[in-house]
Every structure is written in structure tokens, then in C-alpha cells.
């Protein structure tokens, strides 16, 4: 992502057009800066990060289940 593109997206997030999807998402509480950070990664990096986070949650859930038995 070029610096100009990043700046353009940042401006959209900071000051979205009224009634736009970005304005609606902000009202809904979506962390749009996390999307911006994701867009700086390659698709492979995004996939790997999500899969690692999901695996971590799965492991924690598994341990919690074992502990409650």
C-alpha cells in the first residue's frame, strides 16, 4: 500500500461521508483502523494471522474444557 493510499483511507475513516458504509460501521463500533492495518499485509499474511488467532482460541477452549472435567 502506498503512503498516498493509506492517507486517503485514513481520511475516509476519520471523516466519512454522511450516510456512507464507513460512517455506518463507525456508528456500529467497527475498528476501522484494524482494517487499515490488515490492508498493509499481504493476503497470505492476513490468512496466517487469522488462522493463528483462531488456533490459539481453540487451544484455550480445549484446555478450559479439560480443566472443567
Amino acid at each position: 500500500m502506498t503512503r498516498a493510499t493509506e492517507e486517503k483511507i485514513r481520511q475516509l475513516i476519520d471523516d466519512p461521508p454522511e450516510g456512507s458504509a464507513i460512517a455506518e460501521a463507525k456508528r456500529f463500533g467497527v475498528d476501522l483502523y484494524s482494517i487499515l492495518e490488515n490492508l498493509k499485509l499481504s493476503p497470505a499474511e492476513r490468512l496466517r494471522r487469522a488462522a493463528e488467532e483462531t488456533d490459539f482460541v481453540r487451544r484455550v477452549r480445549g484446555k478450559r474444557k479439560q480443566a472443567s472435567r
Binding site: M1, A4, T5, K8, I9, L12, S20, A21, I22, E24, A25, K26, R27, F28, V30, D31, L32, S34, I35, L36, N38, L39, S42, P43, A44, R46, L47, R48, A50, A51, E52, E53, T54, D55, V57, R58
Partner: protein
């Protein structure tokens, strides 16, 4: 390599005709959504059923929710006689969808799909328009909750595309 990547790579290497749909398709395009399931829409042809079974057999696929003592083989015959399958594999949950409500099957969504480079291999991924349409049609609370982010991401993506054209 994560379980999801291993599954995708095996499917690509076996020339399975499929498109990643659902949350993982959105994630690869920048979404912050998280999910346990890898959702794939597959082409419904006998050749593709064979390729699917060959690709995922090493990962011990079995139908999710079916008691282990009940013999319910997941094979080409099962694929030919069903539409959507929720599976457990040694690498994680895998949902194989022959049809998706509101968007149709592989042939309906392939023209809008994007080809994404995952480093070692290329993969077909549903467009944000397709993902949004399917979630709007499914209309469950968990689907509705994803729509504001997906629509915002689509708006950002459209802005990026315009920037590239300039």
C-alpha cells in the same frame, strides 16, 4: 503453515474447482472477522467430487455432529447425493457448499471471484459483493453483525481501486 493454508494448498494441488467464501474470503481481503470454519463453494461435477475426496482424504474428513460409532462415510457418493456438508478434519472445520442461499453455486459466483496469491499458490476467493449478498440472505444475527464491517471494507476497497486507476 496453518491448517487452513494446508487444506487450501491440498485442494489447489489436486486441481479442485472451488472458491473460498464466508469469513476467510473476507479475511484475505482485509476483514478483521474471525471464524473456526473454512467455507468453500465447490463445482458440482463427478470429476470435482473425485478431486475433493483425493485432496482431503489425508486429513481424515468426517461429517460434523455425526456420532463416531455411526458409519457415515464421506466420499464421492455422499458428495453426489448432497449439497452442503459440514466436516471436521484433522486440520479444522471445513464446510463444503454446493449452493449458497442468495448467490447460487460455483458457476454463479466464479465470474465475480478474485484470484489471490497466497505465496506458494493461487486461490479463488469470493468477491465482497458475493459475501455481502450471501450474508444478507442468510440474515442470522451472526451474519447481520458482520455487514457493517464488510460494507465499510467494500467502500475502502472501491476507493483503493479508483486510486489505482488514476
Amino acid at each position: 503453515m496453518s491448517g487452513v493454508e494446508q487444506l487450501l494448498k491440498a485442494l489447489v494441488e489436486n486441481q479442485v474447482k472451488f472458491i473460498v467464501v464466508g469469513a476467510y474470503a473476507a479475511i484475505m481481503q482485509g476483514s478483521t472477522l474471525r471464524t473456526d470454519d473454512l467455507d468453500l463453494c465447490f463445482e458440482r461435477t463427478p470429476e470435482n467430487y473425485q478431486r475433493i475426496i483425493r485432496a482431503i482424504a489425508p486429513f481424515n474428513p468426517r461429517l460434523r455432529g455425526v456420532p463416531q460409532n455411526l458409519k457415515a462415510p464421506f466420499d464421492e457418493h455422499a458428495l453426489a447425493h448432497g449439497t452442503n456438508f459440514t466436516l471436521t478434519t484433522d486440520l479444522g472445520s471445513l464446510d463444503l457448499l454446493g449452493e449458497m442461499s442468495g448467490v447460487g453455486g460455483y458457476r454463479q459466483i466464479v465470474s465475480e471471484a478474485k484470484t489471490i496469491n497466497l505465496g506458494d499458490f493461487l486461490c479463488q476467493v469470493a468477491s465482497l459483493d458475493t459475501i455481502i449478498r450471501s450474508k444478507e440472505t442468510a440474515d442470522r444475527p451472526k451474519d447481520r453483525a458482520t455487514l457493517p464491517e464488510l460494507k465499510a471494507l467494500r467502500m475502502i476497497q472501491q476507493g483503493e481501486d479508483k486510486g489505482r486507476e488514476c
